[in-house]
Structures are given as structure tokens and as C-alpha cells.
């Protein structure tokens, strides 16, 4: 696992993203336990709280489940379920944007136009 200290992305986020990739690609399989939070902190040379936060991110996305006293195991990755979770995330984030747009007194059309421009920009990237 590669962790960058000065990338601007929090270390816990880097850990959860890389584990997520490993889970979705099947490198870490369904039913397997993730390394213990303190063992992973030792191996990655981070604080324990960092690995806890990374695992909590994975848990909130439904990728793993915490079992008291045993750690975190990888859930069955149901394609449809995952898609639904991601859609929910998109909806939440859009809701944030809508709220912010109201503060900025943007009209509905302006907001939709902005979204279209951003979609185009992200495609160019």
C-alpha cells in the first residue's frame, strides 16, 4: 500500500480507498477478515485512530462489517446493492450542492448548467 504524506488526501482516506479497490477487485475476498486495526497501524506506521477511521469508512459504504471482538470482515459484494449505495452517495452530495446553491441564490437553470459544464470538464480529464 502506498501512502503519500503530502498529497492533500487524508491518510485514512488513502487507506480506505486502496482497501476498497482490493475488495471490489476480489483481491480481498468475501468473508475474509481485514488485518486488525492495531496490526495495520503498526505495518503502515500510522496512528491507530487512522486505521479505525479507514475501516469505518469502508463500513459506512457497506463493504465490511464490524464484529465485536473479532474485527472487520468483507461483505458479499452484491453488484446491484453497491450501485444503489453509490447512487445514494451521489444523491447526498447533490443535496449538499443544492443547499449551497440556495445560499448563493443560484437559479435552477444556473445550477443545472453548472452541473453540465462540470460533467464536460470531468470527461475531458
Amino acid at each position: 500500500m502506498k501512502l503519500l504524506q503530502n498529497s492533500g488526501i487524508p491518510i485514512y482516506k488513502q487507506i480506505s480507498e486502496q482497501l476498497k479497490e482490493d475488495i471490489l477487485s476480489g483481491k480481498i475476498k468475501e468473508g475474509e477478515y481485514l488485518p486488525s486495526i492495531r496490526g495495520l497501524a503498526q505495518d503502515l506506521r500510522t496512528s491507530v485512530i487512522t486505521t479505525i477511521k479507514a475501516y469505518e469508512e469502508l463500513e459506512s459504504e457497506g463493504l465490511v462489517t464490524a464484529v465485536h471482538g473479532k474485527g472487520f470482515f468483507v461483505n458479499a459484494q452484491d453488484g446491484e446493492l453497491l450501485r444503489e449505495q453509490h447512487i445514494r452517495k451521489v444523491e447526498e452530495d447533490l443535496m449538499q450542492a443544492i443547499k449551497a446553491s440556495k445560499v448563493a441564490k443560484m437559479t435552477e437553470d444556473e445550477l443545472i448548467d453548472t452541473l453540465k459544464v462540470l460533467i464536460k470538464l470531468s470527461e475531458e480529464e
Binding site: P10, R38, A41, R45, T46, S47, I49, K53
Partner: protein, 300 residues
């Protein structure tokens, strides 16, 4: 975050002249590493000495491992302590430190002590027939010696007063590994509390932080929660007056101002040309400590 306390303390008070240590409540989480930060004279050493049982002339109650007092049988066996310079008496030498540890603690493993000293490259002059007294050793060697006495025992709680300060960068980096390994091997049952001025160096081994000022606790919490609680604000000089009202501390300079604010107050900066940034621990500590500090930039 769910956790239990390895140390719980209430109404700890100790007065020396004008200084008063006054801690209403203290919780040290079990299974984690906690850093104690504050200006010189804030009371960190006094607090650690009370928690370590070296000083018992204070008011208040301290509970260890959920149910024990420091005087209960076996409690001191479970605690490893390293102090600042005079913790090992100046006329002792390394051989005596080893002998005394053996006498004081049933769980002291002499062979393990020797092998730790060897791994940490403790100077040859510390031991043997011509052993130098502690007063003639470098600060780094004294700290290594103290760390060896602690890690040669099986303990559940470490109280370390400024362990990183006398260490060189390599050894400081290794101290991080040592503490993480200690915690990992405890499976959630081993805890560390250390004081430090080198908060940037120690951030990778810091789960919980307690910031002390003038004998009191100024702020405490799990590191990631504290980082979310505050935000670094940077902005133009002309907004300084208005912005600083909403900030915990702010410093104005030629090219604009900088400081920290509570994240929940972010929306109060609407209309000002400011940028926000997630603080690191060092920024939080410095900004919080600046509020009441008597320190001033001298005229040079």
C-alpha cells in the same frame, strides 16, 4: 468512538507557589496512544508524576485499569515509566540501573534488557567495569537506557515524559515503531501516555491528544475529531478585524492573516476572501496555546 478508560482521574489538584495543577476530569483511552502537549510549566511533568505514583501529595483520585488504585498490589508492575533527566539518579551507572530494575520489578527480564540496549546501540561506556555515571552520559543514552528498562518488562500502560526530546531523528522514528508495536501486541489492552513538544514527529503515533495550559486541560479528544473541530483560516489583511472576531486565534501579517477557527463557524466568514485548510496537530496546538501565552516576539 467507543472506548474505555485505562486511567480515570477526578479533581486532581496540586499547588506550588503561584502554580496550581487543577484537573477536574481526565480520561486516558485504553488501547491507544495519548499525547500530552503544552508550554513549559503547564504541568505535564507534575501530572505524569502523579499518574506514575512518583508524587502522592496531591488531592484527587486516580483509577487505573477500571478498578485499581496505584497502591493496590501489582498495579505498579503493570506500569512502565520514564522520566526527565533526574529520574535516574546522577551517580548511578548502567549496571546499577539494571540491578535496581531487577530488584524493583518481578517482571523485569535482564536478558531482554541487554538485548534491547544492544539493539538501540546504547554506548559501551554505559555498562561494564568502567561504567560512566548517568551524569556523564548523553541525554540520548539516558533516554535509551530508560526505554530499555521499560520494554524489558511486560506492562499494560506506559507513562513517558518527553521520550522523543533527547532522541536523534532516526531514534525518534524508531520510537514511533516501538510504541506502535507495543500497542499492536496488546490487542487493545495496552495504552501509552507520553508528553511531547515534538508533536509533528509524533503525530503518526498519536491517537488522542490532551493540550494543557497553566495547570488545566485546554482541549482533548481523538486526533481526527479535533482536526475536524477546527479549521485553518487564511485571508487578506483588510478582513482581519472582521474575521478575527470569529476565530480562536489569529495573527495578522504584511501579507494577510492566518489562524484557526471552529469549523462550525465557517459560514460566518461568508463574504470575506478567505481560504480554509484542515489543520495539522502542530497548528492546532500552537494556535490554542497562543491564546493565553505570555510569550512575545522579542525585539531583535
Amino acid at each position: 468512538m467507543n472506548y474505555t478508560d485505562v486511567i480515570t482521574a477526578k479533581n486532581i489538584k496540586k499547588r506550588f507557589g503561584k502554580f496550581e495543577l487543577n484537573i477536574e476530569e481526565l480520561h486516558i483511552p485504553e488501547g491507544f496512544s495519548t499525547a500530552l502537549v503544552g508550554e513549559n510549566g503547564a504541568g505535564k511533568t507534575t501530572l505524569l508524576n502523579i499518574l506514575g505514583g512518583l508524587r502522592r501529595d496531591n488531592e484527587g483520585e486516580v483509577t487505573y485499569f477500571k478498578e485499581n488504585k496505584i497502591t493496590d498490589e501489582g498495579v505498579l508492575e503493570r506500569i512502565g515509566f520514564t522520566g526527565t533527566k533526574n529520574y535516574l539518579l546522577p551517580h548511578w551507572n548502567g549496571n546499577q540501573v539494571r540491578e535496581l530494575s531487577e530488584m524493583l520489578f518481578d517482571n523485569f527480564d535482564g536478558e531482554k534488557f541487554d538485548s534491547i540496549c544492544k539493539s538501540l546501540n546504547v554506548d559501551d561506556s554505559v555498562f561494564g567495569a568502567k561504567a560512566k555515571p548517568v551524569s556523564k552520559l548523553s541525554d540520548g543514552n539516558i533516554m535509551k537506557l530508560m526505554l530499555a528498562t521499560v520494554f524489558a518488562r511486560k506492562t499494560d500502560l506506559l507513562l513517558l515524559d518527553e521520550p522523543a526530546s533527547p532522541l536523534d531523528p532516526l531514534m525518534r522514528d524508531m520510537l514511533g515503531d516501538i510504541l506502535r508495536t507495543y500497542i499492536a501486541e496488546g490487542n487493545g489492552k495496552r495504552s501509552v501516555l507520553f508528553s511531547t513538544h515534538n508533536i509533528s514527529d509524533m503525530e503518526s503515533v498519536c491517537d488522542y491528544i490532551i493540550i494543557m495550559d497553566d495547570g488545566k486541560i485546554l482541549e482533548r479528544g481523538f486526533v481526527l475529531d479535533i482536526k475536524e473541530k477546527y479549521v485553518v483560516v487564511k485571508g487578506d489583511e483588510r478582513d482581519y478585524e472582521a474575521a478575527s472576531k470569529h476565530m480562536v486565534s489569529a495573527h495578522n501579517g504584511k501579507y494577510g492573516f492566518e489562524g484557526i477557527a471552529l469549523s462550525e463557524k465557517k459560514n460566518l466568514f461568508a463574504g470575506m476572501n478567505v481560504s480554509f485548510e484542515t489543520p495539522d496537530l502542530f497548528q492546532i496546538c500552537v494556535s490554542l496555546l497562543k491564546q493565553n501565552s505570555k510569550l512575545q516576539m522579542p525585539e531583535l
